[in-house]
Symmetry: C2
Subunit: 93 residues, 2 copies
């Protein structure tokens, strides 16, 4: 018998969404800089436009999983490493 | 001086995209089952529709980062743990 409801209220994430995208972008930028890649290079390897990639780094795009993987491959960073941030921990108990 | 180009060709990911989404969905489902949650419960807590959530588990949706975070919070699993898969390793050198 599965639970179909539980006592937790639905998550209110809206106010944190911008924050999440910004942290993710910061992670990307740090990794890119450490590899001495330009935004052009990462965009080229990952097959995305430079303007899109630049907006992702600025936290202005709600990037999809497929594009996250493309960029991770371009930066040669594993997904779990890319998604790690001590700042994300505040969302988890 | 930044590199603006390098010798790597653009990534051809299309044929692997479905695979990536399926692995991610499998990770979600495994975690959900381990918590004895129904799809309804996870959808309710994360504020997504059940049909959308069900499609994500089936790897039929190219989910966005914000929705990944919502589901991760609902399942109380950290992002880096959710994104980890030995099967993803094939995309990385």
């Amino acid at each position: 018998m599965k639970k179909t409801q539980n006592s937790k209220p639905p998550i209110e994430l809206k106010k944190n969404e911008e924050f999440i995208l910004k942290i993710f972008g910061k992670n990307l930028k740090a990794k890119r800089i450490s590899m001495d890649y330009s935004q052009d290079t990462v965009a080229y390897i990952s097959g995305l436009s430079r303007s899109y990639y630049a907006e992702v780094e600025l936290g202005k795009r709600n990037i999809s999983l497929i594009n996250i993987v493309k960029i991770a491959v371009a930066l040669d960073i594993e997904l779990n490493e890319l998604m790690y941030s001590t700042e994300f921990k505040k969302f988890f108990k």
